[in-house]
Symmetry: C2
Subunit: 783 residues, 2 copies
C-alpha cells in the first residue's frame, strides 16, 4: 500500500520533496517506456500481519539482497526450549509491532521455518546503545519506535521515520547490494550500529564466527558464519559509507578471547580487526541537520573480495534514486509479463502483489563473475547459467515452478541448472529437498526436485543438454535408500508407519514423484527407468484402505494401524494435512483416485463434505501455520497438500463446483491488505496459486503439460511469453456473481474440455471465457 | 638417533624386512647420487626431552605437513585457568611419555607458544574407544603404550610399534601430504580414529567448526576451523584410504544440534556428512595378520578441492617406500649444502640435526597451483614465488634468516615475498610480527620483519623489484602508531615504562629495527627515510642510565623508574632477558655500547662478570623457557636476547674470550641426545646459532653484511652455495682444547680482522683457520 498521502509532512525537508519528485518522474519514465505502471499495484505489506511471513523491504526480482526492517529479534531458543514467539518472525517483520530494531540484508519470503536476517544495520543518535533493547522499553536499546503513518513500501523501496532518533531511513537495492539512505538530525553523536549477533531464528550458539575488518574510514568488510537450519553457512559482506566515520569500535559478548593480542591493543576502539562469535560494531559521525549518510552493503557467498567486486560492479556511484529507479523499472518489466484488468482495483493489487511475492525467491546466488560457494563448501563458477538458491520445494513444486515455466522460463531453466549443480556437489548424491545458501536443510518430505525437473522437461523449458542429467539425477535421488524410509518404501511399496513418521504423506508424495520420473523417462525413451518408476508410482494403492475409504497408515507387517482418526494430523502418518485431505492426494491420476473412492458421484459428495464439515477446535490446533480464516470446512488452503483439491470436481460430473470453489477461495483467502495471506506464503507458492487461478487455470499435476480449468478472476489478461508470443485472455460478463464458465473459445474455436495444454497457452492467441451466474453443466462434457 | 638395532624383531614380518631392505637400497641410491649420506646424522629426537619443543615426526624440508606423534593431549585451559602442563606439549611429543595418543599433521618446531596439531589419526583394534583416555590408564581410551625400543625417527620417516594394539605405525610425507602405513594384526574390528577435537594448546572453545564429508568408501574430506593463537584459522583436508572401510561413524561432543536433519537420518553411522564443534570420527575395517592399511592425508589452506588436488598431484600412487625415499633424497640434498667433518661423530650428529631443525620452518603454505588463504581471508595466488608461513620473527631474525641468506637464498627470497604479500593483505598495514596460517598472532615484540628484509636486501637476496616495496613496507610498519607504544616511542624517543610493558626491550629492539630500515634506505638512496630512521635508531641512548651503567626503564615524564633490579626480568621493562642481558643489546653498534659502558676494559670486565655471576634461584624462576643447563652465569642461551653477546668481546681488546666462550656454549648447550637443546629451539633459531658457530662465524647484526668471527667447531666444511660457488673451510689443529684461533687465511691471504663479509663467503674459495690451545692476542689487531 502506498501511503504517499500519509507521509509525515512535518519532517519533510526540501530534499525529501525532491526525492518524491524524482520518484514521480521515474514513474513517468516507466509509463513512457512500458506504457503502464504495474508497481503501483504492489503492496509489500501484504502478508506482514499474522502468519504470511512476508517482508516489506527492498529487493530486486529474485535478488540476493533482500533488505528489510526487523521489528523484533526473537530468539529461536530460550532457556534451551523452542520459543513459539519466534515463528511470527520468520521474515523479521510483524505489522502490529511498534518498534524497528534495524535493517538486515537477507530474508526468506513466506517460509514456515527460518534462518538468515544477516547483518543488521541501525542508525541512531545520542548515547550509543549496543543492545537492541526490549519492545516494551525501546529507549533501553538502539531500536526505535515508528508509525505506519510514517512508513512506505514499494517494490525496491522502503522508507520509515525512526521517531526516537528523528532519522528518516530509506532502503533500496541492486541484486547483490543493499543501499541505505539515512537522513539525520544535527548531532555530534550519530552512530550506525552493525549488529552481527542479530539474526532470524537465533540461538546462543547460532553464530559460529563473525569477523569485521575496517579497510579504511569508509570501507568495512567481514563475514558471518552460522549454524542452524543451514548446517553451516557463511555470508561475506563489503560495506561502504558515503562519509568517513570519525570513530569506530565494537563490543564482544562471548567469553572467548582472541589469545593473540598480547595486550598490545585496545581492541574495542579504532582497532581494524574485530572477531568473535558475538559482536556488535558501531561507526560514529557528526551530522548537520538533514544530512544524509548512505551505505552500500554488498553480499557474497564466496569471500569479502567477491562482495567488494559485487559492490563496485553493481553500484559504482552514490545515486540512491538512480538505483531505486532502475530497480523499479526492473520490477515493472517483470510485472508487465501479465497485464490484467479486473473488476476493481483491489483485485489488481492482490494480483500484482501475488506476482511480486512469486518473484522473491529462489534468489540469485553467485557473484557478478559467476562464483558461488557450492554444497560441497568449494567455490564453483556458474558456466552459462545464473545460479539460484532457496528452494522450498515441497511448497513450490506445486504452482510456483510451473508458473515460472510459463512466464519465467529463462530463469526457471537456470534454476533447474542450479538444482543439477546442487546434485553434482551433493555427497549422497541427491537433488535438493529444501536447500538454501549451499546447504541442504532436509525440511519437509518427498523429493520434489524431481517434479520440478519433470515439469520443466515436459514443457521443454529445461536445457536439452540437461535432459539426461535430470533423469539420472532424479532416479538416483529416488534411490537413496537411507533417505526417509526409501529403502522400506521400495521393499514394501509403502513407508511403514511404525518405522517412520508421516508415513502416508511420504508414500503418496513418493508415488507422485515417481510418476514424474516416469514421465521424464518416457519422454526420453528410457524404458528401464520408466518401468522401474512406473511401478513405484502405483505405491499409493498400498496405503489406500478400502474399508475406511481413505489413505491410511500401515505397519511394516502389512497390517493397518489401529489407532486412526481421519481428522487428526499429528502422529497419524500425515504432515500439514490430515487423512481427509491427503486421501485426495493423487494429482497425477484423479480418475484412479475416483475409482478407489467409489466412483464419480461418491467422490463428488466426498469433496462436498470436505468443504462443508466443521473442523473441531481440537483438530484445528494441530493444523500448523494457518489461521481459522485459512480453512473452509476441512479444506486447509493455508497449507499446501490440498492446493489441487478444488480442481478435482473437474474429474466428476460437477466441474462447475471447481469454478465456484476457486472463486470463493480467491475472494476469501487473499486480499490486498496487510493480513491478506491466510497462511505462510511459502516462498511464493500461495501467491503462485492465486496468479494461476486469477487467470482461470491451474497445474494440478506438474510433470504433465495440462492445466485444469477453474474460473478466472480477471476481466482481461495479456500474458507476454519470453518466446515473443502473447496470449490475450478475455473474460466476458465478468463480475463477482458470474463465477460459472458458460463457454470457452481458444483462437475463435470453442473447446469443450476442462484443461488447456502448455503449448496452447505459449503459442499465444486469444482465450475467451464467457461467464454466467449459473453453471453450464455441459461444459467439459466432451472431456 | 637411529634405533635400527633395537627394532622389535618379534613383530618383524617378511614385509617389514623387505621395507628395511628397500630403505637400505634407497640409502645406497643417496650414496651413489650425492656421494654422501647426511641424513644418517640427523636425530629427530633431539630436543624432544624437556623444553626443546621439537617433534620427531615425518616431514619434507619446509613441508606444510609435519606428521608427528602426540604423546599427551594437554588442554591449554583447564577450569578457566591456564594449564602449565600444556607448555611441554608445544610440539606434541615429550620423550619421557609412555603412550602415544595418535598422529597429527601440523606442528610447530621449537616454538615457545603453540597451536596446530590438526587432524589426529589413531589406528586401534578391539572395542572402539572414541576418547583418548589418560596416560595413567591408557586402556580407557584409544591411546596406546609404546616403547622407545620399538620406535625410530629419520628425516621423513617415523615408526612406532603401538603395543596395546600390536599395530606397527609408519609415517612419511610429501610437502602437502602425510602418508601413514599401519600394519595390523588379524582382527574383525580394526578402527582408524580421526579426532577433530584433538589439537595442541586446546581449550573448550578452540574449535570454531569442524566438518567431515565421506565422499566414498575410501575418500574423506573436511576441515577444522579454530580460534586461539591464530585468531581464526581453517585447515582443509582430503584423506584417502588404501582399502575401503566397511563402516564409519562419529560422535559429537558439543551440545549444538544440526537443526536440519528433521530426524530423517541416524547421523552417527554411515551418514556421509558430519559437522559440529566437537566431533570424532572412525572408520572400520577387517584385517588379516600383517595386513597394511595406508592413508594419504593432504592439507590445504584454501578448500577441500585444493586438498584433493594436492593429494592427487603429490602422491598419485600407494608406494609408501617411494615417497619415503624421495623425501630422504630431498633431505640429503638440503643437508649436503654444508658438508662437514668433525673430530667425532657426535658433533656431526649435533650439526646435521641442527641443520635439519633449521629447515623445518617457515613452511610452504599454498596449494600445488599456488593458491593460498591470505591474511585478509581471501584466496590469493602466489605468482612467481612460493608462499611460506610460520614466521617466528623475534627469534629467527637473529640467525635463522641470515643462515637462509647464506645457504637457502632461493627460499629466503620467496619467504621475503611472503612477508610482503602479508603486508599487502594486512589492514593496518603491517609486516608480520609473528604470523602463521594467514594470521598475525602479535607474539613478542619489535617489528623484526624489517631486520629480515634488510638482511636480504643488503645481501642481494631480495628480488630487486621488491627493494622499494620492502623499504616502504618497513617504514610504514614502523609508523603504526597504535602498535605497542610506537606513538610514544616516536614522541619521547623511548617506550615509557608506565605506559607499556617490556618498555626497555621494546625501545632497544625498535632502535635496532630502525637502524635496519636506515641500512635499506641508504642502499636505496632514500635520504628522507634514512634520515627519519637514522634518528630513531639512536633511541637506545634514551634508555641508557649512566648512573646505573645500564639500560633501564623510564617513565613518560622522563624520570627513571625507581624500582629497578638489574637481575629481574619481570615487570622491570624487559622480556626474556633481564637488564644485565638487555643492556648489551646494541648489535648494530657494539662500539657505541662500549663507549656508553665506560670503554673497552670496563666492558670486557662487565662481560666477564655476566658469564661468571651466579643467578639466584629467585631470578632463575623468572627466566622463561629454559633449564638451569641453559644458562652460564647470568648469560641465558636458552632465550634469544643474548645470542650475540658472546661475540661482543670481539669489540674489546680480548676477542679470544669470544672464541673460548662460543666453543664452551656449543659444547655445553647442544648435543646429539634427546635433551640436546637447552631451551625451545624457537623455530630453528637455536639450531641456526649452532650452525653458524660450528662454521666459525656469526651474524651479530643482521642488516649488515658482516659476520663476526668466533671459533669453528668443525674440522672441515664445504659450503655449496646456490650461485654455484663453494667455500671450503679448513680448521687446522682442531681439537677440544684448541679453541683459540692462531691465524686466518682467506684464499691464501692472511686476514687480521674479526669479521668476514657476505661476499667473501659466497664468492667461495678457501677459508683456513689455524687453532691452538692458547689465545693469539694479536689476532684482529688490525680491526
Amino acid at each position: 500500500m502506498l501511503n504517499c498521502g500519509n507521509f509525515h509532512s512535518f519532517i519533510m525537508s526540501f530534499k525529501k520533496y525532491l526525492s518524491v519528485i524524482v520518484f514521480c518522474f521515474s514513474i513517468g519514465i516507466i509509463s513512457a517506456q512500458q506504457s503502464k505502471n504495474f508497481i503501483q499495484y504492489v503492496n509489500p505489506f501484504v502478508g506482514t500481519k499474522n502468519m504470511g511471513h512476508t517482508f516489506p523491504g527492498a529487493t530486486r526480482p529474485f535478488g540476493m539482497v533482500q533488505l528489510s526492517p526487523e521489528t523484533d529479534a526473537q530468539a529461536y531458543v530460550v532457556d534451551g526450549k523452542y520459543n513459539p514467539n519466534a515463528y511470527a518472525y520468520c521474515a523479521g517483520y510483524q505489522y502490529n509491532d511498534t518498534t524497528i530494531v534495524g535493517f538486515s540484508h537477507t530474508h526468506f519470503s513466506g517460509t514456515g521455518h527460518s534462518d538468515l536476517g544477516d547483518f543488521l544495520v541501525m542508525p541512531m543518535v545520542g548515547e550509543l546503545l549496543l543492545n537492541p533493547g526490549m519492545s516494551s522499553s525501546p529507549e533501553t536499546g538502539y531500536r526505535s519506535r515508528f508509525s505506519h503513518k510514517e512508513e512506505k513500501a514499494e517494490p525496491n523501496y522502503y522508507q520509515v521515520y525512526l521517531s526516537d532518533y528523528k532519522i528518516n531511513a530509506e532502503l533500496t537495492s541492486s541484486t547483490r547490494v543493499g543501499f541505505h539512505r539515512y537522513t539525520f538530525p544535527k548531532t555530534d553523536s550519530a552512530n550506525i550500529v552493525l549488529d552481527l549477533m542479530s539474526g532470524i531464528y537465533n540461538f546462543d550458539e547460532k553464530n559460529v564466527w563473525t569477523f569485521v575488518r575496517v579497510e579504511n574510514d569508509t570501507l568495512v568488510t567481514g563475514y558471518r558464519q552460522t549454524q542452524g537450519w543451514a548446517r553451516t553457512r557463511t555470508v561475506y559482506f563489503a560495506l561502504s559509507f558515503s562519509k568517513p566515520f570519525s570513530l569506530y569500535g565494537h563490543k564482544k559478548y562471548d567469553e572467548q578471547v582472541y589469545r593473540g593480542f598480547w595486550r598490545k591493543f585496545d581492541e574495542t576502539k579504532n582497532f581494524p580487526e574485530m572477531a568473535g562469535r558475538q559482536l556488535r560494531a558501531y561507526f560514529q559521525f557528526e551530522t548537520e541537520e538533514t544530512e544524509e549518510i548512505l551505505l552500500k552493503f554488498a553480499l557474497s557467498s564466496t569471500s569479502t573480495s567477491g562482495a567488494l567486486k559485487n559492490l563496485e560492479t553493481e553500484i559504482p556511484h552514490w545515486n540512491f534514486d538512480k538505483i531505486k529507479k532502475e530497480g523499479q523499472l526492473e520490477w515493472n518489466h517483470e510485472l508487465a509479463k501479465i497485464d490484467i484488468e479486473t473488476i476493481n482495483v483491489a483485485d489488481k493489487e492482490t494480483f500484482y502483489t501475488a506476482l511480486y511475492h512469486s518473484f522473491l525467491s529462489p534468489i540469485e546466488y553467485m557473484d557478478v563473475d559467476g562464483a558461488y560457494k557450492g554444497l560441497d563448501g568449494n567455490i564453483h563458477y556458474a558456466k552459462d547459467f545464473t545460479n539460484y538458491t532457496i528452494f522450498s520445494l515441497w511448497d513450490t513444486y506445486r504452482a510456483l515452478h510451473p508458473l515460472f515455466n510459463l512466464i519465467q522460463p529463462g530463469r526457471n531453466k537456470d534454476m533447474m541448472e542450479s538444482l543439477l549443480a546442487h546434485y553434482d556437489q551433493s555427497v549422497h548424491p541427491m537433488l535438493p529437498v529444501w536447500s538454501h545458501y549451499a546447504n541442504e536443510n532436509w525440511c519437509m518430505i518427498g523429493y520434489h526436485s524431481v517434479s520440478v525437473l519433470a515439469d520443466a522437461l515436459i514443457k521443454d523449458v529445461l536445457k536439452p543438454e540437461s535432459y539426461q542429467r535430470a533423469l539420472s539425477a532424479s532416479a538416483q535421488t529416488a534411490n537413496t535408500d537411507y533417505y526417509d524410509g526409501i529403502e522400506l518404501y521400495k521393499k514394501l511399496g509403502f513407508v511403514p508407519d511404525d518405522k517412520n513418521t508421516s508415513s502416508v504423506s511420504k508414500t503418496l508424495e513418493y508415488a507422485y514423484d515417481d510418476w514424474c520420473i516416469t514421465q521424464m523417462a518416457e519422454k526420453l525413451n528410457d524404458s528401464s527407468i520408466a518401468q522401474e518408476f512406473g511401478k513405484r508410482a502405483l505405491s499409493y494403492q498400498n496405503v489406500f484402505n478400502k474399508a475406511r475409504i481413505s489413505m491410511a497408515p500401515r505397519l511394516e507387517n502389512g497390517e493397518w494401524r489401529k489407532e486412526f482418526d481421519k481428522l487428526s494430523t499429528h502422529g497419524q502418518g500425515f504432515i500439514e494435512g490430515n487423512a481427509w485431505n491427503y486421501s485426495l492426494y493423487l494429482p497425477q491420476s484423479p480418475e484412479k483416485l475416483i475409482a478407489l473412492m467409489g466412483g464419480k458421484k461418491a467422490f463428488e459428495l466426498h469433496l462436498d463434505s470436505l468443504f462443508t464439515q466443521h473442523l473441531d477446535d481440537k483438530y484445528f490446533e494441530q493444523t500448523e501455520d494457518i489461521t481459522r480464516d485459512g480453512i473452509i470446512g476441512l479444506y486447509v488452503h493455508g497449507n499446501e497438500p490440498g492446493h489441487h483439491i478444488p480442481f478435482l470436481y473437474n474429474w466428476t460430473n460437477a466441474p462447475w463446483k471447481t469454478q465456484a470453489r476457486v472463486r470463493m477461495i480467491m475472494e476469501s483467502m487473499y486480499s490486498n491488505s496487510n493480513d491478506g495471506l491466510c497462511g505462510n506464503d511459502d516462498a511464493g507458492q500461495m501467491s503462485a496459486w492465486y496468479i494461476f487461478n486469477a487467470l482461470g487455470f491451474y497445474p494440478v499435476a506438474p510433470g504433465s503439460d495440462r492445466y485444469a480449468i477453474g474460473s478466472p478472476l480477471v476481466k482481461t489478461a495479456k500474458i507476454s511469453f519470453e518466446n515473443g508470443n502473447k496470449l490475450q485472455i478475455y473474460v466476458r460478463n465478468q463480475n463477482r456473481e458470474n463465477v460459472y464458465i458458460q463457454n470457452i473459445e481458444l483462437n475463435g474455436k470453442k473447446i469443450n474440455r476442462l484443461y488447456l495444454t502448455h503449448n496452447e497457452l505459449t503459442q499465444g492467441g486469444i482465450l475467451e471465457f464467457k461467464m454466467g451466474s449459473k453453471p453450464n453443466k455441459d461444459l467439459g462434457s466432451s472431456d
